[in-house]
């Protein structure tokens, strides 16, 4: 029997050490693992390094909670409102180190780690001040002498992903755009899969072309319906844009985040209770069902 990796959110997050490097928000604005992030806040797992392309307020929340020492990202803010105010305050106050990337360089960092190589070259970044950031090296390629930027590998201790469905084994289906999800899964020592739904392994095996996260990479699987709100999940719920705007207003001033977290993180016992608090209709009103895919022999 394959191991059953299901856990409660509290159990899964309790196994993460302070000081860990965590990659999250890997499908960009889609399927961001907010429920997992909120449990980090509840447990106060601190001294974190966060890795991701853009995080659309997840990183801002963890920074606001005082859990983050370092952000290695291309963009940190609020896609609906612009600024992430906790992030801004922490950087401007000298409390947070930022390693500036582009989306492509973050993708290459994670790709290098999944391939087990120390770096990968790119012709992006050349001419920008990002190329001059201390983590990069501008060199000539040894074959034709082209100028390239060497992008060092980033291997996170943990990668968090949110998916539509996963088996208790850790095998998972994610659909819709995926950003750098799979690179980050394979780059990490541990992977936490949070899923809208835990399903029978036969459901996953009925469509193996959709299965790009498999059990040997996965440390824990948590059933977390509505676990990506306010970000959208393909086929499950729409993005809650108003929530992002309200969050921006609530956190504009110092101290605002604590009140926000008291209501939305510390003030709810479970994701089910959180869901009850969200009154806007985010349901998928015009579902598109894919044409049937047949395998067999």
């Amino acid at each position: 029997m394959p191991a059953d990796k299901t856990a409660s959110m509290a159990e899964a997050i309790a196994s993460i050490e302070p000081g860990s490097t965590i990659a999250a928000g890997l499908a960009l604005e889609h399927a961001i693992p907010f429920a997992a992030g909120h449990e980090l806040v509840r447990q106060g797992t601190d001294d974190l390094t966060l890795v991701g392309p853009i995080s659309d307020v997840l990183f801002d929340q963890l920074v606001g909670a005082g859990l983050v020492s370092n952000v290695r990202a291309a963009w940190t803010g609020n896609v609906s409102a612009g600024s992430g105010y906790n992030f801004r305050r922490a950087v401007e106050g000298g409390e947070l180190d930022v390693e500036n990337h582009s989306n492509f360089s973050i993708a290459l960092s994670l790709h290098a780690a999944e391939l087990g190589v120390p770096y990968l070259p790119t012709r992006s970044l050349l001419g920008s001040d990002i190329a001059g950031e201390p983590q990069f090296r501008i060199t000539e390629d040894p074959f034709e002498g082209q100028r390239v930027v060497q992008v060092p590998a980033i291997a996170p201790d943990w990668t968090f992903v949110h998916v539509q469905r996963a088996a208790p084994t850790g095998d998972a289906h994610l659909w819709g755009n995926t950003g750098v999800t799979y690179e980050a899964v394979r780059a990490a020592d541990n992977v936490l899969v949070t899923a809208e739904e835990i399903v029978d392994p036969e459901v996953i095996k009925s469509d193996p072309s959709r299965t790009r996260i498999t059990r040997e990479q996965v440390t824990a699987v948590v059933e977390a319906p509505f676990g990506a709100h306010p970000s959208p999940v393909a086929g499950r719920y729409n993005r809650d844009n108003e929530f992002f705007l309200e969050y921006a207003e609530a956190t504009r001033d110092e101290g605002g985040f604590d009140a926000w977290a008291d209501e939305w993180i510390h003030g709810v016992e479970s994701r089910a209770e959180y869901r009850e608090k969200v009154t806007r209709d985010l349901s998928v009103r015009e579902p598109t069902t894919a044409a049937e895919v047949t395998y067999g022999q």
């Binding site: 499908a27 960009l28 604005e29 889609h30 392309p53 853009i54 659309d56 990202a73 291309a74 963009w75 940190t76 803010g77 896609v79 609906s80 612009g82 600024s83 992430g84 992030f87 801004r88 950087v91 401007e92 930022v98 500036n100 990337h101 582009s102 989306n103 492509f104 993708a107 790709h111 790119t122 012709r123 992006s124 970044l125 050349l126 001419g127 920008s128 001040d129 990002i130 082209q146 100028r147 659909w175 819709g176 755009n177 995926t178 950003g179 750098v180 999800t181 799979y182 690179e183 970000s231 959208p232 393909a234 729409n238 993005r239 844009n241 998928v284 015009e286 598109t288």
Partner: protein, 261 residues
Amino acid sequence: MASEDASEYTARELMVSAAAREIDDGDVAFVGMRLPLIAFQVAVSTHAPNAMSVFESGVVREDPADGFLHTMCDLPNLDRAVSTTGMLDVMGRLARGDIDVGFLGGAEIDRYGNLNTTRVHAGDREIRLPGSGGACDIACLSDRTVILMAHEPRRFVERVEYVTSPGHGEGGDWRDEQSVQGGGPNALVTSKATFGFDDGELYLRTVHPGVDADEVAADFPWDLRTREDVTGEAVGVTDAPSSEAVELIREFDPDGFWTRG
């Protein structure tokens, strides 16, 4: 069929319409967020039915989304896309040189079209901005780029403090000398005017209806060149959006979240 000019429109609707005209039929456009999202939808619905859009999140679309978009990952943008894939797939197309036109925004732009979205100063105070996202990659690698910005004098600086997204660097052949792959900025569209680049330097091409060219030039901290300096042809007036374009913009942005207010 050409449609008549719209009689009423906002500055941002004009920006979207001007940006849409920068997409040629058959182009592959790297779209990004905000106004360019709508510009692509207008272009593909009017003069560029064979244009394709790619988004760094891993979305490839051939047509407008059937629903309003706050972000590139809103479900209407994923629903009935041509492909929903990963970032390296899309960035690979960019790195190979397959992207004809990329769209950029910025907090600051300088004389040579370099953009800063990383950090700025207000007096002595440093303000941290969100950062590059995919903008640096689009700026480095697209065949050409089109920049959209609100027309505010504080955004126009002699030299950006941090080059998040390289334009033409220091002008002339700077991109070639620095081995920067793509062609660099081709146009800047603000809420008052459109600009081109000559020998890597920004010049005023057209002013929007009712805007005075001298007023626009006064917003720049250097002696802004104009189309007259570059081609001998006087600064023109930006074409008003067609009534069809304005109707489409209001269909794609029914509450005016991006284009009104």
